[in-house]
Amino acid sequence: MKPILFIALKELQDGLRNRWLLAISLLFVMLAAGIAWFGAAAAGQVGFSSIASTIASLASLATFIIPLIALLLAYDAIVGEDEGGTLLLLLTYPLGKRQLLLGKFVGQGLILALATLIGFGGAALAISLLVPDIDKLQLFVAFGRFIASAILLGWVFIAMAYVLSSRAREKSSAAGMALGIWFLFVLVFDLALLALLVLSKGQLNPDWLPWLLLLNPADIFRQLNLNGLDAAAQLNGVMSLGQDLAGASSTLWAALLGWMVLCLVLAQRSFMRRPI
């Protein structure tokens, strides 16, 4: 147990030292505040419009940015230590590979969680203080769900980054693979799904179509946040598929958690097999 704690602590200190925590938190605050006040600018109005539209816009944006940040934070976790020669050294210490991986996950996961909490939590606080007669309960519930799911999404992609970091021989190829993963889940997946729908010309059974969304953690995250909003929020693209997803929220939470566990298990397997 102790080694996990020490490794996590070092990762956390690294996050503070190289100002990752600060930079991500600031980015999130600015994003959230910007969207809350100027999100409706295209419709010709400036100022806070509604909780639902703010969360909807934030969720779309976070779908892009959180996986990217998580991958950037974690892609060199294993291969970076290997290139510095410290992986070889750490493995001669009285700690297991699993402990090393878990320690890194706890540390980097905490950095991302703290940044998300500070960034978006700060924005929610600002909205509750600055916008008159807002339904505070609704605001905090919506933001609470958004923050929790964003953290979980980040953890999924950190674990995913560990998989490729354990497989990559060089840091640069790990970085390339991280970009590839990001492209796949954030851009390609939705397009491929839409193409599938169009090409199948309605022959696919519409009942199991929504389940396809569970194959992409980024879509699960988006769905989770849009589900919680009133019907007024306009759903477009593949997201409209998930409207009638069975079991709704709990299924989605479980699926996101399942993704994280799956990626961690895969990362551990790859790490165990990595030649030293």
Partner: protein, 305 residues
């Protein structure tokens, strides 16, 4: 009980056979020099002892257990050949981190930094360190937690002569405390005084294993006796040559006699009792000569199966 025991160990990387039937053992407080060219299997041997690799066949035991055992690792110290540490951390932070991971007392950190001469630089980031300073930080790291077995991979690379001497002094100290040391190197000059035994590897096989005097007699390289300022040097040369020694005249009154194994004492006795020399100098075959002998005639001295 032997501290380290390798019993007919074979290791393959895929189809490549890196180690072939290796038998090696080490007692407590013994210093073993492990020599060989690049690719001879030194690093693979080290990694097997460290538990980083599992042998394809055969057995590796460290203090009676598998080196993969966490309790065994607690007693190991390792200095890798290339380690750049964490560039953003200071020397002190780096050593503290490793001390925690090894559950070494935190008071040891400063003592070790002092011992390797990094006290003044310990507040600086490791990225500003020179190769030699990193090497010393690596050594300090290897000494954390009083290891019973120390594995040093090319420890003198990047060290200046004084730091090298200090390193050997540290090894000497540890040896007296019962720590066994494996010194892996292809730099051989001056290493003789600090090792108890040498193992020479080539192409995944052990070519020789023994104390220096055992190896010397095994290879049969002569000891050179040089006698300076000898009166009637020419007469001595004739006499010694007559008795079957290989004696050579260097200048007017200097004599050089090459003697094998037992003959050295005999020649010295004669020269000391009857000769009137200013100075007698005996030079034995050094590690470099023994090493190159085993390298050039690899098949002649294959260790017994």
């Amino acid at each position: 009980m032997k501290l380290v025991e390798l019993h007919s160990v074979r290791h393959c990387y895929g189809k490549l056979e890196a180690l072939h039937d290796l038998n090696l053992s080490l007692n407590e407080g013994e210093v073993l020099g492990l020599f060989g060219h690049n690719g001879a299997g030194k690093t693979t041997t080290m990694k097997l002892i460290l538990g980083l690799l599992r042998p394809t066949s055969g057995q590796v035991c460290v203090s009676g257990a598998s080196p993969e055992h966490v309790g065994v690792r607690q007693q190991l110290g390792y200095l890798p050949e290339n380690v750049s540490f964490y560039p953003q951390l200071t020397g002190l932070e780096t050593l503290r981190y490793f001390a925690r991971l090894k559950s070494a007392p935190s008071a040891q950190v400063e003592a070790l930094l002092r011992q390797v001469g990094l006290t003044e630089a310990c507040q600086r980031k490791v990225k500003t360190y020179s190769k030699g300073m990193r090497q010393r930080l690596g050594l300090a790291q290897a000494l954390l937690g009083k290891p019973r077995l120390l594995l040093l991979d090319e420890p003198t690379v990047g060290l200046d002569p004084i730091a090298t001497r200090e390193l050997y002094a540290i090894i000497q100290q540890l040896r007296e405390g019962g720590t066994a040391v494996i010194l892996c190197s292809h730099v051989l000059a001056g290493v003789e005084a600090f090792i108890d035994r040498a193992a020479i590897m080539a192409a995944g096989r052990l070519q020789a294993d023994g104390t220096l005097s055992e190896l010397r007699s095994q290879v049969g390289l002569p000891s050179l006796i040089r006698v300076n300022g000898l009166l009637q040097a020419r007469r001595w040369q004739a006499q010694l040559s007559g008795e079957g020694f290989n004696a050579r005249l260097v200048g007017e009154d200097n004599l050089e006699v090459a003697t094998h194994n037992g003959a050295k004492q005999q020649v010295l006795k004669i020269l000391l009792e009857q000769g009137d020399a200013e100075d007698i100098e005996v030079r034995q075959a050094n590690m470099e000569e023994i090493y190159s002998h085993f390298m050039t005639q690899p098949s002649a001295h294959r260790s017994a199966p």
